[in-house]
Amino acid sequence: MRILFKCAVVLFAVYIALLAGLYWAMRQPPSVFGRIMSKLPAVTFWVFPFEPMWLTARKGNLKVGEMAPDFALKTKDCSAIVRLSSLRGKEPVVLIFGSYT
């Protein structure tokens, strides 16, 4: 009985350590997190509460009501540079962030 209890405690401690490790990884820059995830088995998604952890880890500092950080980005064809602040006072702006994969 005692041994079983000890095993359970050790397993629990390992689980918590892995959980903390995964959360730390989620807080790293995307390329670092991606590299870590590529080495972990798919079972990671099932063993850990991945979704709530991700949503918390990637909450970000920007809040509704705050000034949106300005940017000046090239259009895809490099024909122009769009500055967010140049649209101020004109119309609302919708930003759809994403990539191909």
């Binding site: 970000g60 609302p92 702006v93």
Partner: protein, 131 residues
């Protein structure tokens, strides 16, 4: 949604760092769909992938490309995908939760609806003839 609101709001796709590149966290679904993209080393490479993405996915929204320092991605915690609405005064009116779980265009549309003037079609004909 873009077709519905494009005359009353500015839409931009911001192409950021790949989520599942071949040299990173590749997904089985990428292999299945033959979407194999290595992470860009130069802005030219990133821009080329952005172009492929926009063309293959048939995206009509104007696309911007994040710089190689990923400054916009970092400022908006945007990776792997995320939606924002910025109001006329330049403030954040809507911020989706982090994608892919938090990516819900319908939720965003509700906020956008409040910010834009009603479309001409929705206003209908004037209630009385104008002189």
């Amino acid at each position: 949604m873009y077709q519905k609101y494009k005359d009353r709001a500015a839409f931009f796709v911001v192409y950021i760092e790949e989520a599942h590149p071949t040299d990173g966290w590749e997904m089985p679904s990428n292999l299945k769909q033959h979407i194999l993209v290595a992470s860009a080393k130069t802005f030219g490479e990133r821009d080329a992938t952005a172009d492929t993405c926009v063309v293959r996915l048939g995206i009509h929204v104007p696309a911007l490309v994040d710089d190689m320092q990923d400054s916009t991605e970092r400022a908006y915690t945007a990776w792997p995908d995320r939606l924002y609405v910025i109001d006329r005064s330049g403030r954040v009116a809507y911020k989706s939760r982090a994608g892919p779980y938090g990516f819900h265009p319908a939720e965003m549309a509700k906020v956008l609806q409040r910010l834009v003037p009603p479309s001409r079609a929705a206003q209908g004909p004037p209630a009385y003839p104008r002189r």
